[in-house]
Symmetry: none
Subunit: 193 residues, 4 copies
């Protein structure tokens, strides 16, 4: 158990280092040796936990994406009303993107770049299902526009990524009232009528 814990710690340290370095330097310009150094292990040790660099970044992506969705749905239950459920999920996502910006930035980079391979991208998407289910329910109840889920996501969720990047670059700072404004814009863009 102690041994297992040590292993998990090392794996986590490697993933953490990967996120930080890829965020700051990009996937290129992030050598394995630097990841190893930041995680306080030997370069060779990485290969005990991951097959190669591609596998490391794929697994990191899935890890972070999983964290993201767990966080998003943590306080949601499907007994909530559509509107309430959407608000709960949206605000958790906003929290994640704005507070855990290291993780969120990493996802943004992966989602706009050909560094993650297709199977891993698919794997990452699966966990969003509860939100899609909620939207289906909303459409059936006539509360949400009968549009493609891609359109709903583009208008309701994706803007938060842009705001997160802008905030990270120091361009501006989102406060409480602005987040409320943003939520209203999100809801307005998908609600029926």
């Amino acid at each position: 158990m102690a041994q297992l814990q040590k292993s998990i710690d090392k794996r986590n340290a490697l993933i953490k280092a990967t996120i930080e370095l890829v965020n700051n330097n990009g996937f290129h310009a992030t050598p394995m040796s630097k990841i190893a150094k930041m995680a306080n292990v030997s370069p060779a040790t990485i290969y005990l936990y991951f097959e190669n660099k591609q596998d490391l970044v794929n697994k990191t992506y899935i890890d972070v994406k999983t964290q993201y969705t767990h966080y998003a749905f943590d306080t949601y239950t499907d007994t909530m009303s559509v509107e309430q459920g959407f608000e709960v999920i949206w605000k958790r996502i906003a929290d994640f993107k704005l507070n855990e910006s290291e993780n969120a930035m990493f996802l943004a980079q992966c989602d706009n770049t050909p560094i993650i391979d297709e199977p891993s991208l698919q794997e990452g998407i699966k966990h969003l299902q509860p939100l899609l289910d909620l939207w289906e329910r909303g459409k059936q109840e006539g509360l949400i526009k009968d549009m493609s889920n891609y359109l709903l996501y583009a208008y309701a969720i994706n803007p938060l990524s842009f705001l997160m990047m802008a905030q990270k670059r120091g361009a501006f700072q989102l406060d409480r009232t602005q987040i409320e404004d943003a939520y209203q814009s999100a809801w307005n863009s998908i609600k029926s009528k």
Copy 2:
């Protein structure tokens, strides 16, 4: 003049090759030698037109960003009403993102990645001014929500990037009516009341 034209052609070929290769492989995994080969020049020739790889990608970014904004504002004049002007610009941007998706993808990758240096990013932003001016006018006339321009951009424009990426990945296809839906969502998200 013939010589000058040949030079311009070579520069353009290099920029085109850079866009295509970076889109498909990322900035890493795009060696200068491949760019040269695709542009039908020797690797050494690149260095007659650009200082180094960083300069090449910076200049490519500025070039594409300039094309993007020229395209966006081509049919717009500031004598148009706020709503009309916004529609004109939005639809041009949609055209660009969905039809010139190679260029648009390149911008998305650059904007979510640390590959472009700060001065070049700033340079690229400058050209968006007419849209920001339009929004200021809209705010004064009480037609557009009094929100940060970052919020307006996040909801009115940025979703198109997400849709472009999704379309590029073959996940779905935007048709005429969906674009109309998208425009309505965009306008709803920023219009006052």
Copy 3:
């Protein structure tokens, strides 16, 4: 210990190869790949022992200069008389320059060329101190001309470099009696009266 020895061996092999190749081809025209090949290591291995090519040649210079001065002062003690001490040192230097001509040639090339950086040149000079001390003693005792140490070195020691180069080029060969002649010339050029 075995590992450490292997490391030292490799470093020495690299330094040896550097000397031989730079002597024959000059610093330019001595690619790292040839040094690596002659030392039976991969080019990449050089960079485990030296920061870059400049560092390699700097360190080689300091190494050889240190050997040179150790050799020169090996049989000298400051209890010797000035004349005896000078003879002992001079003959050791002559031995070094004429027998270890690979090393001596390397120093000559470095001292007449801008390939070694200033700090390393300074570092190399420090070790000559015992000779300068001897000369100071000689001046105080009225045995050695009261001239700048540079002049003393120019006439007493430096001619050996010229003779070494000439001999290396096969132009002529120094025998025992000529070395004795040379020593007399050296001593005559610095002795007082």
Copy 4:
């Protein structure tokens, strides 16, 4: 004639640039393009005057060596006495090495480095003949030690090279009286008895 003069000017400008750049950076790290730039010509133009880089540096060497010997023997005639002749030549050489130090440094670098090919080195040596003739005369008259000319050169002339380098590096400065000291050391080292 005007045309011919322009050609000679260009050739001279190239040689001057070569000396300065090789002195400061070494033969390596002196690209043809920089030589061209400093001489205010196109890189291609160099090849109208010299076969290639090796030929350029060879010809530069011979040029400078010729200047050197012309300078050395300018005021000497073989009707002078041995001692007077030696003093005249020695002082001219001293003048050259200490005043025309750019040229002298270039020669020192070439003479301690494998950058000049053997035929050009031989060509350069030929012009020293008058000094060797003088020494032969001195030996026959019993005024100069019966030693190899290499030894005589090593002690009588070569120290000036060392002093020139030291002075160039700012280590010390030769004044009139020191030059007189140096001359005495030179003469003492070769004069018979």
